[in-house]
Assembly symmetry: C2
Homo-oligomer: 198 residues x 2
Amino acid sequence: MASPEIEALTQALARLPGLGPRSARRAVLHLLKKREAALTPLLHALERVNERLTSCSTCGNVDTTDPCAVCADPRRDTRMLCVVEEVADLWALDRSRLFPGRYHVLGGRLSALEGVRPEDLSIDALVSRVAAGGIDEVVLATNATLEGQTTAHYVADRLEALPVRLTQLAHGVPVGGELDYLDEGTLAQALRARRPVA
Amino acid sequence: MASPEIEALTQALARLPGLGPRSARRAVLHLLKKREAALTPLLHALERVNERLTSCSTCGNVDTTDPCAVCADPRRDTRMLCVVEEVADLWALDRSRLFPGRYHVLGGRLSALEGVRPEDLSIDALVSRVAAGGIDEVVLATNATLEGQTTAHYVADRLEALPVRLTQLAHGVPVGGELDYLDEGTLAQALRARRPVA
Ligand SMILES: [Zn+2]
Ligand SMILES: [Zn+2]
């Protein structure tokens, strides 16, 4: 039994992905016991992010600056653009600095079932961005789901007339993946895209 | 790549027990995308806790009020006192309302190795509290470790002359086990079968 304030904090933490009620309680206890080392830094970090949180008007990333840190980074190859469904995908790709260019977040995927139409996604903005020039290659990195691929096809159609190279992520056996555990779709794709042994 | 503010938030979250860098990033992304539903409530909960955080001058619990919510609860059986090492143990026992009485947090365990002596723990305060009267039973619920049991023996010696029944948690708490990590069933068993200190 704790005060309502501590209960509220526990519940706010328990709603984060990856934290359940049990680990949230442990986290709260840690925050209470390590006020200077844990609670204060977390509070200040949240305050600062909350004050400045914005959406990048160029790429759709969420950040504390507009343009976001990726778009503002002068070391990025501005001639390459990677199109993703969600901010989470941008972060996943960018985490390991695999992609040297910039991004464009669509904000979802086309879905007849969920009633998501092209005008619900940031597709017009993408077309304008590419039409403005200076981009050589657009990598369509939507998810390898039916809806993700439908979206990629639609985006490809919209960009077709523009002078850019359109590419997409290779499909195949994930590194470390065991054939036995892969679905048939992945196996079929991997087999179709087989390449000469080096 | 994110702004320094978002990096700071990710790092503050990653330092919480149960969250690594990967889940911290996922949690931050969730906070940024669900500003109203996740970031704002967490920020306000932290602010409120930070403003009011205190230590209970009666039992040593951490809470936003002094006396804490447990000590202030009029439904508690004031004749029963449960002695624990850490606030985490109080929370673990109290979570499932297993114990109807109040608590006393020692603030650690006696340890020759770590140089923790009786005067480093809240033992004098415990003796005063029991000597003040009104308490029939003191449950010694230190951990079932060597140091926890040494501490229990020392506390039992200090309370021996006072007119209270001393009990301890039954076996059922695995040797070497820390209360904070036990399931509720084990805790319930151990509490139900508590026995007089030999
Ligand atoms: Zn951006
Ligand atoms: Zn208290």
